[in-house]
Structures are given as C-alpha cells and as structure tokens.
C-alpha cells in the first residue's frame, strides 16, 4: 500500500499557496519599484525589476511543477492499485485533486505574470 503517500489537504493546497506568495511578492516589488525606484536600472535592454519578476515567476512555476509532478506520480501509483480498498480510492481522489490544483495554480501564475512581458514596471 504505497506507504500512504504524504498527500493531505495541506499538501493539496500548496501550489495555490505558491500562487498567493508569488502574487503578493510580485505586487509588492512592483510597488517598491514605482514608489522607491527599486531596481529600475536597465540590464540588457530591460529594467532589472522586469528580470526579477520574470525570475520569480519561473521560480514559482518550478516549485508548482515539483508539487504537480509528485502528485502525478502518486496518482499513477494509486491508479495502478486495484485492491478496491477505501484508502486507495481516497488516495486516488486526493492525488488527482492535487495534480489538478497544481495545474490551475500554474495557469494562475503564468496568467497573472503575463503583463510583465507587455508593460514597463511603472507606466
């Protein structure tokens, strides 16, 4: 029995927590850039802040991908089991849910960060 993979309600919502952190950090840094001229110097044609925001977005997507991959792996294991036990069906549900949550969180992060590609930090 797959040694009860560590998937619970907290673990399930972690990708969305990453989304929330990313949102707060990106929004705060943008505010600092405009109010306190933080990291406004251009680097390779773009403001440093733009690069920082991109880097943070990639970081967030990477962390979400890790959560998603582990949930997907656990889901495959749970799906392969056909012992018909309640724990197995629960595990299948929670792992599937966790993978989907990671997907939604990834869409959320990418979608929220999209404007960074289109606008300067302070317009």
């Amino acid at each position: 029995m797959s040694a009860m993979l560590p998937i619970g309600l907290t673990r399930m919502s972690m990708p969305l927590v990453v989304w929330a952190l990313h949102f707060v950090v990106v929004y705060s840094l943008q505010g600092l850039a405009c109010a306190r001229a933080l990291w406004r110097a251009p680097v390779a044609g773009l403001e440093t802040m733009t690069w920082v925001l991109w880097a943070l977005t990639l970081l967030a997507l990477g962390v979400i991908a890790l959560f998603g991959a582990s949930a997907l792996r656990a889901w495959r294991i749970a799906r392969a089991q056909t012992d018909g036990r309640t724990e197995t069906s629960r595990l299948r549900f929670l792992t599937a849910l966790s993978a989907l949550v990671a997907l939604i969180a990834a869409i959320g992060v990418a979608f929220t960060a999209l404007p960074v590609a289109l606008l300067p930090t302070c317009a």
Binding site: F23, T86, L97, I104, T112, L118, A123
Partner: protein, 846 residues
Amino acid sequence: MSTLTPDHTIPTPGDHLRHAERIALLERVWANGRGLVGQLTAVNHTTIALRFIVTGLVFLLIGGMLSMFIRLQLSWPGLNVLDPERYAQFVTMHGTTMMFLFAVPIMEGFAMYLIPKMLGTRDLPFPRLSAFGWWCYLFGGIFLYSSFIFGSVPDGGWFMYTPLTDSTYSPGKGADFWLIGVTFAEIAAVTAAVELIVAILVTRAPGMDLTRMPLFAWAVLVTAFMIAFGFPPLILASLLLEIQRAFDFAFFEVARGGDPLLWQHLFWLFGHPEVYIIFLPAAGVVSTIVPTFARRPIVGYTWVVLALVATGFLSFGLWVHHMFAVGIPLLALAFFSAASMAVAIPTGIQIFAWIATLWAGKPWLRVPMLYIIGFFITFVCGGLTGVMLAFVPFDWQAHDTHFVVAHLHYVLIGGMMFPMFAGLYYWLPLASGRMPSESLSRSGFWLVFIGFHLAFLPMHITGLVGMPRRVDSYAMELGVQWLNLLSTAAGFVLAVGIVAILIDVALCFRLGRRGTENPWQAGTLEWALPHPAPKYNFASIPVVDDRNPLWHDPGVVEATRRTDGLLGEAVDGRRWIIGTGIQSAQPEQAIRLSNSTWLPLFAALTIAVLLGGFITSQYWLSILMLLPLIGLFLRWLWTVNGRETPLEIEVAPGLRLPTQALARNAPGWWALVGTLMIVGSLFASLVFAYFYLWLNAPAWPGGGATLTASTPMLAALGALLAAGVGAWRMPIALRAGHTRAAVIWSAFAILSAIACLALQLPAIADAVGAPQRHAYGSVVWTLAGFQALHIAVAVLIAGFVALRIHHGHVDAVRSLEARIATGFWRYVVAQGLIVWALLHLFPRFA
C-alpha cells in the same frame, strides 16, 4: 429513571432499554428548555440555524424596503422622495444590510442547519459558540439600526471610503454606528467559520472520508477558510478607522503621514473575497440540488472540488479591480486584471459540471430546479459583465456608473439569492414536514425573475450612457428617465415576488400539505431524518460508504432511526457526538457538548453594553464591562471537560472511544488552529498597513521619532523568549506527572511576559511619543498594543490552565488544555518576534 445510567464512567448500552425509552431519553437530552427561558438559553444547531435564516430574511425585507425608496427617488430626474442626505443614508444602509446582515448570515444559517445533518452528526462541535454568534449578529444589527433612533444614520456608503468617513467630513456618530455595529455583527461570521471548519474536519459520520463528503460541505469548508482570512482585513480597517475617529490617530489622514487609500486596500482585500464567501455556499446548494433533480450523481466531483478550492484562493487576488480608477501604476492594474479574468476558470468548471450533470441525467423540473435555472441565466450574465469590468480600459469607462450596479446585482442576486431560494424550497419539507404550494411558489419565482431582469437589465444601458451611481439624481439630458422608470416599476414587481415567496414559506409551516419523506428522492444524508427533523437529528449515528448514501443503500434510513447503532443511547444524560479522522473518517473520539445555557446571551449582552459605552464615549463603562466579560468566558471554559468527564465511553457495543480531552484531533485544538488563522490574518493586515504607510509616506519614521534596538528593547526580547520557554516546558512537566512544576512554569511564563511589556512599552513611549502626532506613531502604537493584548490573553490562558491543573481538571492524561495554551503561547511569541523586528530593526533599513 435512574436505571437509565447504570454507570457514569463506563455505561453499557446493552438491551436494558427499549427503543421507545431510548428515543424519549434522546428527546429529553437534546430538547431546548421550556418557554421563553428555553428559547433564550437554546444552543442546539437546528434552533440557532433557523434563527439565523429567519433573522436574515427579516433583514432582507428591511434592506429591500430601503431599496424601494432608492428606486422611487431615481424613477424620474429631479424628484424629491429622499433629500440627498437621506438618499446617502438609505444607500449606505441598503448595501450594508444586504451584505453584512442578510447575505453572509443567511448562508451561515444554511450551513449551520445542513452541515451536521449532511455529515451525519447531531450538532455542531461548539453549540454555545453558535448561539453566541447569533446573539452578536442580532445585537449588532439592532445596534446599526438604532442609529435611526438617535438620528445619526451612517451615510458614507457601505464601503465607507475615507476621508469621507473620518471625523472631519463625517462628524457625529453615524460612521461610529456603522463601524461598531458591523464589527459586532461580524463576530457571528468568524465564530461560524471556526465552528464549521472544525465540524467538517472532525465530526463527519464514520466512513464519510474526503472523497464522500457532500459538495455542499466542501463549499462550506472553503468558505469558512475564506472567512478566516478575508474578514480580518475589514475588521482591522474598522478598528483603525474607529481608533482614528475616537482617539485622533492618523492612519488615513494625509496631513499627518497617513493614506486614505489604505482603507480601500483593506476594505477590498475583504470585499472581493466576500463576494465569493457569499457565492461558494450558494454554489454548494446548486451542486446539491442539481444531481437530485437530474437524478444522477454529479459529473466531475473532483473537478468541482478543484473549482471550489481554486476559487477560494484566486478570489483573494482581485481586490484592486475595485480600485482601477484610483491612480495605481498600470502594471499593478494589469496583475489584478489578469487575476480577475483567471477566476472565471474555476467558476466555469463548476458551471460546466452542472450543465453536464443535467445533460447526462433525466432532469425533473420542480420549484427548486426552476430557481436553479434562474440562477444559471442570471449568474452567467453577471459573470460576463464581470469579465468585461476586469478589462482596465472598459472599467475606466463604466466606473461608478449604473453599469456596475447592474453587474453586482446580477452576480449577487443571481449567484446568491436565486440559489438561496432554491435551497429554501428544497429543504423546506425537511424543516417543516410539509410541502410548499406549487402554484404560489411558481408565481413567486416568475415575479422575482421577471421583476429582477426588467429592473436591472436597463441599468447596463443607463450606466453605459453615463448615469452615475451613488448620486441621488441625474440630468434629464441623459435621456435615461424612461429606462429608470421601468427599473423602478420592475423593482416593485421584484419586491412583491419576494414578499410572496416569504408568505408562501411561512404559510407552508402552518397550512402546507403533509409531505412524504424525502419528497425529491435525494441521495444525501439529511433526507434520512424524519421530517421535521428532531433536535438530536439521528437516533444512531450513520455509517456511510458512498457519496449518495440514500441512493446507494436505502437501508441507511432505517439504520439511523434504530437505537442500537452508534451513540444510540444517550450516555450519562449528556449530549455526545462522535469525532472521526480528518481524512479517513474513522471513529476517533467521543465529544461531549454543552446543554442549554445562559452564557452566550450574557456574553453578547455584555459586549453590547461595552460597545454602547464606547459609542457614547463613556469609556469607564466599557472598561468596567471587561470584568464581567472575562468572568463569563472563564466560566464558559471552566465548564468544558472537567475531571468529572469520563476518559472513555462505549459508543456502541464493543466500541470504546476516548473522550475529547485525550484525543489528538480534539475539536478544541482545531478551534485554536482556526482562531489563530483569524488572528494571524488580522496581524498580517496590520503589518500590511505598516508597510503600506511606510511606502507611501514622504518621511519615515515620521514626526521626528526614531525607534531602534536599545538595551531595554533587547531585554524585552529576552523576556519574551523566556516566556516562550516557560510555556514550552509547562506541558512537558505536566505529561511527566509533575503538576507542581507545570504550575510553576506557567507562573514563570506569566511573569516573563509581564516583564516584557513593562520593558517595551515605556521605551516606545520615550522614543515615539504620542500616537496622534504622525501615522508612524499611530501604527507603531497599534502594533505594540495588538501584541500587548495578545500577551494579556496568553497570561489569562496560562493562569486559567494553572488553576485547572491545580484543581485536577487538567493532568498528565487530560492534557488538551495545556496543549492549547502552549499552542497559543507559541503563536504569541512568534508574533512578538515579528513585531519586535518590525518596530526596532526595520527603521534602520527603511
């Protein structure tokens, strides 16, 4: 009947009682008291939840009546039904009533009524807390409306924007009535959040694991978490504004380094999730009703849960879309614009799941389903205008026009009121035992549906043409007078429809024809109950093995009505429920609940007097009221889990469960977790306010103050850590059986914490001076005061637990209270470290 409880410690539910006697005992144990006293002391969830629903409906009528005046005033340009001052008051009270006194409480009422019945248990885990919440809601509502008697009705809009609502532009008591009354009523929201989180996590019927939980329970669980994180920003904003109004602090005043936009951020940080706090339980109602009338299980259960969880998170990223026009940098606007559109994804998932369920089933059009169709049409339209408004350029055009009024009514009435009426008709047979009149309820629906659309559809046009909202008239030249006249006329049709529905529902309780049980052939557990539902709900706690137990195994109805199952016998004449594992739903503990008591009413009354003293500036009265208030709450806590509670009881022949004082997942522990989420969110909002003011202030620290680390400050930090050590050692000593040492460690924690305050507060006073000088001083003092308040509560808790240990109620085995106390201390120390760093280190780098 002394033979009923042969042994208080280990009762033996054998066959020495016959079924009828056991039922009679259950009836007696779970009944409210007789007469008026019984009503005032009742704590049972069915009673309290129905009160929430009825009170909510009364406020719906009051709020609706105000809107009729508003509509009359707007029916033609230049009318004088309400003078501008009255108009502002009525608009304010209409919005406030509908949001805070109708929509949120009535959804709480539905949740409190249905959750135990759907989860297969007898009551919520903290019945006194529910009752306390209802009294606070009622008194808060009365408090708010008493402003009409005192002639100072709030008129700053339900959003209460500063600086319009500060003491310069809103002298008098109107804004104070709003801030205090609404915050008072919100106590009900946060207590319900704690209550429902714990109920859903630990009191589900055995076998109802996470995959079998009804979608309504998922929706309420997500909503309760959202309340825990979403309401604190508003509560904090209200506190800050009230402190500014009463004591002349400077959070929102530009001249002294404050910022009025701070209010908008905090308000909408609450205000946007609030829309989903209202919508998600309604979506849960839809997810319950649609499968019943499609006569098949919901399509995409996992996807709907995903949508609920995702909505719960994403909706916190939208608050600035209420502030697109206040002058925020474009990139920031674009973040919120994107997030506002992204939230349409999970909402869309749910809508498609419902449509797929209807498509795959054999839909059956009865009155609840009619309202669901009304919901679909209306809510989808509102959602589409919502996506339109998420576009910044479009929002700039439509901002503060009646287009927004149309949008928000489509979303709120479509997304919440139609499902609410659907739920009202759906569960009416369960609550009343009678069927509503089909013809009258259909007429009510069509009046509401047609009235609503004719009233609000034209507002899209009047708004786009340029008719401003929040203003008591408009120019004839706009050419919108006929559309407004139509809106007004249709508004009255809507009002007639709502009154018709409420009369229909009220009549049903007296005159409805006796219904058959489970009239809609639903599959969820609440329909296993006799109609009307008895106060104890289930004679035996059911065991569940499917999402739709009644469809899967009709025998469950019979099993729950026999008295030979789980908790079939009312052990030792007290109210017991079963606690189960969070994921697995395996039986883990027996939870003893409170009987009827005066404590909730007295506590709420004391708070009412305290707030009354505050609003009349009789501060001595408010301070005096703290004593009875603390006394009542200590009494409240003292009567839980004493040494007279058995360590374990036999809940069914052969199944013995430990009682909650011994259990790892004790409700009290999860209540602490829930409370700390609320408190932590309140604290995070305050830290946000600190940084926001810092970011926007021209000078920081302002007012010539500097507060950095110094010797007394370092000593204060040491004292705080010492208190943490005391709190950490206390349960260790207790578990080792050293009760004296545990009491001494508690005393050590108390003394260290007091030393910390004694060192820190004078040093802050020296460095910062009066909080009225500058926003910096205001927020520093508020942070320090916030922390001091938590230390005071921690000290009270430590003293209380030490006393309980001394009296033998808490010991090495019954250690729950010590665990809870330490948990709270840990939080207070962590919060203290953050406050300390913020106050004494941050100014060095700012």
